[in-house]
Amino acid sequence: MTGPRFLDVLGRNPSAAVGLALICGFVALAVAAPLIAPYGPFEVAFGPDRSVPRLAPPSARNWFGTTNQGMDVFSQLVWGSRVALTVGLLSALGSVVVGTLIGLVSGYFGGWIDDVLMRLTDVAFGIPFLPFALVVIAMAEPSLGLVILLVIFFLWRTTARVIRAQTLSLKERPFVWAARAAGAGHWAILFRHIAPNVLPLSFLYVAVGVQTGVMLEAALSFLGFGDPHAQSWGIMLNAAFRAGAMRTAWWWVLPPGVALSLFVMAIFMVGRAYEEILNPRLRAV
């Protein structure tokens, strides 16, 4: 994937270009959060006379208004981008690494190893994720780390299946026979010859992973099972929902929801463009 080709794809997919710009925007927001956000994620935005501005509509002081506890919605939104990016990246990387490893080993070695690993993915596929995650979090303490682990647990299975299928076909190719004839060991063949060929495909699942991870964190937090110490968009929506802000304070409900939707959509669009680079046949359709 060379630079010009990438630009070429972006040129033909304006939605991917918009998505990429949005992602850059969110990354900038997350990195520069302390500079951009006027208040901390849990800080009360006291008025000039030290009053607490409860449910104040948007104004020059509080761009997106305030919550029922007098916190600045805009600041919370900015801090929320950090949580979204952290959860998205960590859960995506974790699930792709685990899924790729399992897929590679399962597809390459076959036999009982394959059987065991594939039955494991069957089990993972049989578990309805959100209800299961709710139960686990209810049993333990809700924390961001646990949410990320659960998302990884939920996501690795798809990557594993796809990478396994790819490995199955790759291991019969002449270059693998050649490597074996030259005396390469199993692990050398697996990681030096086969793995580089499946990595572009694994990478596609990073996009899926970020998207699903952010969405699931938001869903869990919205249901009240998120980390109460991480001000995420889902936590904001949960607080707004419980406070009945849908009736009284649209400015508290819309920003986190719109940010979440834009972020997820941006990742989706970029992922689609990447898929097209990977699989040129899609371009025809």
Binding site: G126, M139, G257
Partner: protein, 324 residues
């Protein structure tokens, strides 16, 4: 057919194994929970004697493997015991909640599949048209937007601002209680509109995109030229093409209903729909473990069953699939 029977047996055995694994994971989860279930159930008025008797009653003093086997037997027989805080048995509650969840999912799925198929097939047939592009773009957006935010928006606009539709619940208190009574009551349909449409807005995207691309594939196949050569009208040809393009949809629908629970839990909370998902969340917030356990188990069973049905159906409707 011998091949099919062997395949069926293998798939059933696999499903059984997965059920056992899930049950075991659940057993461990509910065993590992911090503290003692009696601590939630009893209050300060219980004497030590009464607590011990309660533990005996629940079999908590038995060795773990006796508890495990008893748990397996109960789960397989759908004997979920009694909730901590309600009088009915868990099984009775579950039956009610499953029915309510179906009362939301089934109509929404029917609408999604029927209209999604029509829209998708038409979009694929008229490739390159404005209609096709609009359908694809809308589907992609709806597919990637979190449906619970769509639900919140719908609630804000149509219930709180415009006041067209009730903001939540299924029927008013004291309304009809039986399945047929519910279906005959206009209140139920009024309450269904918003959550149903939100669910459709998400679930319809799959059939649309799938039918469109599978129609594009079918459109180029030789058998359509054959039909044209036979002198069939274009309308009849579209019907033939659609029937072939429908194949992948069958598997998709079963898988779709399986993952439906993800969004279902959220929608039931947002619209206060008294279904299985809402029951699970409420049981977990009250730490009512028998109820939570049963709800999770039922959801897993449905997911598995639908996956199995999808695999079997695919073979049944596509004569090209062989089991040898």
């Amino acid at each position: 057919m011998g091949g099919f029977r062997r395949y069926l047996l293998r798939r059933l055995a696999q499903a059984g194994f997965v059920v056992w694994c899930i049950l075991t994971i659940m057993f461990l989860l509910f065993k590992l929970m911090p503290g003692d279930p009696t601590a939630i159930f009893v209050d300060n008025n219980f004497t030590e004697d009464m607590i011990q008797r309660q533990r005996m009653l629940w079999g908590l003093n038995d060795p773990w493997w006796v508890q495990y086997l008893r748990y397996l037997r109960n789960m397989l027989l759908f004997d979920f015991g009694h909730p901590f805080f309600q009088n009915e048995s868990v099984a009775e509650i579950m039956l009610d909640k499953v029915r309510n969840t179906c009362l939301m999912i089934v109509p929404a799925l029917l609408v999604s599949v029927v209209f999604g198929t029509l829209i998708g097939a038409y979009a694929g047939w008229t490739r390159g048209s404005v209609f096709e592009r609009a359908a694809v773009a809308t589907s992609l957006v709806l597919h990637s937007v979190p449906s619970f935010f769509v639900g919140i928006l719908a609630l804000m606009v149509f219930s709180y601002q415009l006041r067209w539709l009730p903001p939540g619940g299924m029927v008013p208190l004291g309304g009809p209680d039986t399945l047929w009574g519910m279906l005959a009551s206009p209140d139920y349909w009024k309450h269904l509109v918003l959550p149903g449409l939100v669910l459709v807005s998400r679930e319809i995207t799959g059939p649309i995109l799938l039918l469109r691309s599978s129609m594009l594939e079918v459109k180029g196949s030789d058998f359509l030229d054959m039909l044209r050569a036979k002198g069939l009208g274009e309308g009849r040809i579209v019907v033939h093409a659609t029937r072939n393009a429908l194949l992948p949809l069958v598997t998709y629908v079963a898988v779709m209903t399986g993952i439906l629970f993800q969004g279902q839990v959220l929608l039931e909370i947002i619209f206060a729909w008294p279904g299985l998902g809402r029951e699970l969340v409420q049981a977990l917030t009250h730490l009512d473990f028998p109820v939570a356990q049963a709800a999770l188990y039922l959801m897993a069973l449905v997911t598995l069953a639908l996956n199995l049905i999808a695999d079997l159906l695919y073979g049944a409707i596509d004569p090209r699939v062989t089991y040898e």
